[in-house]
């Protein structure tokens, strides 16, 4: 699955599909409520959450300011531990390199742990073209893979499915048990075990790479990351170029923030770090290790007004509080990154052409900004996208442009403004009944009534009371 999903449909139609999917909406709103409460509890427990947010922001900003230094240090240390490092500027370069590794191993079976960046670059399709079977071993991702359904959330990709939906999917795959989650989970483990043992190549994502040691850190709840990195002879980790931390000290802080923000846990069940190839005397680990560092437009974001979006640690806290996501679901965004972070990131990674409507899919309520553990000013970046669309790309609708110019002229002239205030009651009177406008402005009055503008404004009233300045 690459960056763009369901882009064949218009955003408006995708939203409609989401809004009409009562099942998905129920699943999403209850998950949002649960995840929000869990995050607040886990944050509260830490004590001074705001100080932790400040510190985390500082770490991420420091890394971004010195990204060249830390990436160099990281690659040196990966090499020292017997691994190979490849810098891929584009998705094509990354996929080509990984295909070559897989081909050189004559591998037919690839097993993966969860990775958003590989979704971003469309790695699975690239490997399937190579004739490989690619199995996702994260439970949520595996369910979706069986169903050929794209993820709707970056942490809980199958958030839009419940146990009955999973039961249906598994049954189509040969499962004969009940819809009991434990039994369903056991089936998944049994099936995935075969793939772990069969795979010649394991591919992982990377929550954070640690520059000073050359290690890759993985955060999982199922232990599948350990299977992927310890069983196959060849392991490839793929990371977005910004996902690096200087040392284990910063890793500890950010993993803490990630687990608490993403799922309300102090730590997830498995925090794995591994580095390089199997050393002499070690009992497990790969014979061959490759770290693929993907740029895919990220270096173009550095140094711009959007740089702070690269602070993101992919916890989805913003998605879990977004009221728009709540009602339209993840698929409507048409990007593998949905919600507020997706609305900021998708236009940057994939251009405005397909994604220029996403920055408007927000009431600017600021819930995302408030929830972000690394203090990305998400709603401000959405406004900044709008500004770029209006002032730099000049792609805002003509009617809106005229209306805004008119608004600015009126609102900077007291005479015109007061005149407009006094014209409004008469201009709207054909649509008004007993003080309310109930039709005539479809985008508003189809769903809501509007009070009719008053003939006596507050300023008229104030003047009449004799308090004129």
């Amino acid at each position: 699955m690459s960056m763009g999903i369901r882009l064949d449909e218009k955003f408006q139609d995708r939203r409609k599909d989401g809004i009409e999917d009562a099942f998905m909406r129920q699943a999403v709103s209850s998950a949002q409520n649960r995840l929000r409460d869990g995050r607040l509890d886990a944050a509260g427990e830490l004590g001074d959450w705001e100080a932790f947010r400040d510190h985390s922001e500082e770490i991420r900003q420091h890394v971004l300011e010195h990204l060249d230094y830390y990436l160099y240090q990281l690659s040196e240390n990966v090499s020292k531990r017997g691994g190979s490092v490849f810098f891929a500027e584009t998705p094509e370069e990354a996929n080509r390199y990984i295909r070559e590794v897989v081909r050189s191993k004559q591998a037919k079976h690839v097993v993966k742990s969860k990775s958003m960046v590989t979704e971003e670059i469309g790695l699975n399709e690239a490997l399937q073209e190579e004739g490989c079977t690619v199995v996702e071993s994260d439970l949520g991702e595996w369910i979706l893979q069986l169903d050929e359904d794209p993820p709707s959330h970056i942490v809980a990709p199958a958030l839009h499915k419940d146990r009955d939906a999973v039961h249906e999917t598994f049954t189509a795959h040969g499962y004969t048990g009940s819809n009991d989650p434990t039994e369903l989970g056991r089936y998944a483990r049994q099936e995935l075990r075969k793939d772990f043992l069969k795979a010649e190549v394991g591919i992982t994502g990377c929550n954070f790479a640690i520059a000073e040691s050359g290690a890759v850190g993985l955060v999982t709840n199922e232990g599948n990351g350990r299977m992927v990195t310890s069983l196959p002879d060849t392991v490839i980790s793929v990371m977005g170029m910004e996902r690096v931390v200087p040392s284990y000290e910063e890793f500890e802080v950010l993993v803490n923030m990630l687990c608490r923000s993403a799922v309300g846990q102090r730590l997830t069940s498995y925090i794995t770090t591994f580095a390089g190839t199997r050393a002499v005397g070690e009992v497990d680990g790969p014979e061959e290790f490759h770290l693929v560092i993907v740029d895919n437009k990220r270096s173009g974001i550095l140094g711009t007004q959007f740089q702070s979006v690269l602070q993101c640690i992919r916890c989805a806290a913003c998605i879990n509080v977004c009221p728009v996501y709540r009602h339209i679901g993840g698929h409507a965004y048409g990007s593998i990154y949905p919600g507020p972070i997706g609305a900021v990131l998708a236009p940057l990674l994939d251009g405005y052409e397909n994604y220029k409507e996403l920055p408007y899919a927000s009431s600017l309520c600021g819930a995302c900004t408030e929830a972000c553990p690394v203090k990305i000013p998400l709603h401000e970046l959405l406004i900044e996208h709008r500004r770029v669309i209006v002032e730099e790309k000049r792609q805002s609708p003509f009617v809106e442009r005229i209306a805004m110019k008119g608004f600015a002229v009126t609102a900077s002239s007291p005479f015109l403004f007061e005149a407009a205030e006094h014209v409004a009651p008469f201009a709207t009177s054909p649509f008004a009944t007993s003080g309310h406008i109930e039709k005539g402005l479809p985008a508003w009055t189809d769903s809501k009534d509007l009070p009719q503008p008053n003939k006596q404004t507050v300023r008229d009233w104030f003047k009449k009371r004799g308090n004129v300045e």
């Binding site: 728009v324 709540r326 309520c365 600021g366 500004r387 805004m404 600015a408 769903s447 809501k448 507050v458």
Partner: protein
């Protein structure tokens, strides 16, 4: 006697004049001298949020100039959202050596009504009586961006006879979002419907808020669907309550 220039907000001026009037009367009751700079227009937020920042600057300059001429100690408005916009003016003029400092000075003395009463006047009991069962809609810009969480609750908590009941999912946006509500009415209406559902379930007879824009949105939906819930701005509740006491 604190000297206050009223920032009426365009929405209150035209659609909800009783909110502006209540604000004036309430501030006077609390011992303020209130003036009305008549040249004021709109804070410019619709243009700003839509990405028209050059247009917003024109409006902001006009507002800054207007309130400079009023020369009041404080600028007070009955809207967290509009006040947030004026507090944000310095952002617009970050690199402007002339307008930057003027925007800073303007922002520094601008307050939302409940924040002004509680933090500046240091009053939490305005001496009001308002027998009703009500729930409070916390507006997003006011709570999250201005950080005003406690002030409205403190003031309402001291109103004689007023029973406040909790609102489920109080943190979720009502779906207004300015131009968002007309650009994506499909999504906006889902948001307001969930809010309406929570209000109906709260058992309140009165919905109180501190932003006329959210109240216009929620109230407009309630009115369209014929729900008999009374929608009031906190300034109206406090001011009517003072008269009733």
């Amino acid at each position: 006697m604190p000297n206050v220039a009223l920032f009426v907000t365009c929405l209150s001026d035209t659609l909800f004049p009783s909110v502006g009037q209540a604000t004036v009367e309430l501030l006077e009751h609390l011992g303020c001298e209130v003036t009305f700079p008549f040249e004021q227009t709109c804070c410019g937020q619709p243009a700003y949020n839509s990405g028209y920042h050059e247009e917003t600057k024109k409006i902001a300059k006009h507002m800054i100039e207007t309130f400079e001429q009023a020369d009041a100690e404080y600028i007070v408005g009955p809207s967290g959202s509009c006040v947030m916009m004026m507090r944000d003016y310095p952002h617009l003029f970050q690199d402007d050596p002339v307008w930057g400092p003027r925007a800073e000075a303007h922002a520094a003395k601008t307050f939302e009504l409940t924040q002004f009463i509680v933090d500046v006047l240091e009053v939490t009991d305005v001496g009001a009586k308002f027998p009703a069962t009500a729930t409070y809609h916390a507006s997003c810009h006011m709570t999250r961006l201005l950080g005003i969480e406690a002030a409205p609750g403190k003031l309402l908590g001291n109103v004689d006879g007023l029973t406040m009941v909790p609102l489920a999912n109080v943190h979720n946006c009502c779906g207004f979002g300015g131009t968002f509500s007309v650009k994506m009415p499909d999504v906006s209406v889902q948001m307001v419907d969930e809010k309406v559902e929570s209000i109906l379930q709260s058992g309140a007879d009165v919905l109180i808020g501190a932003d006329a824009s959210c109240l216009m949105n929620i109230g407009g939906r309630l009115h369209k669907q014929g729900h008999p819930i009374k929608v009031m701005h906190i300034a109206e509740v406090l001011n009517e309550g003072v008269k009733q006491a």
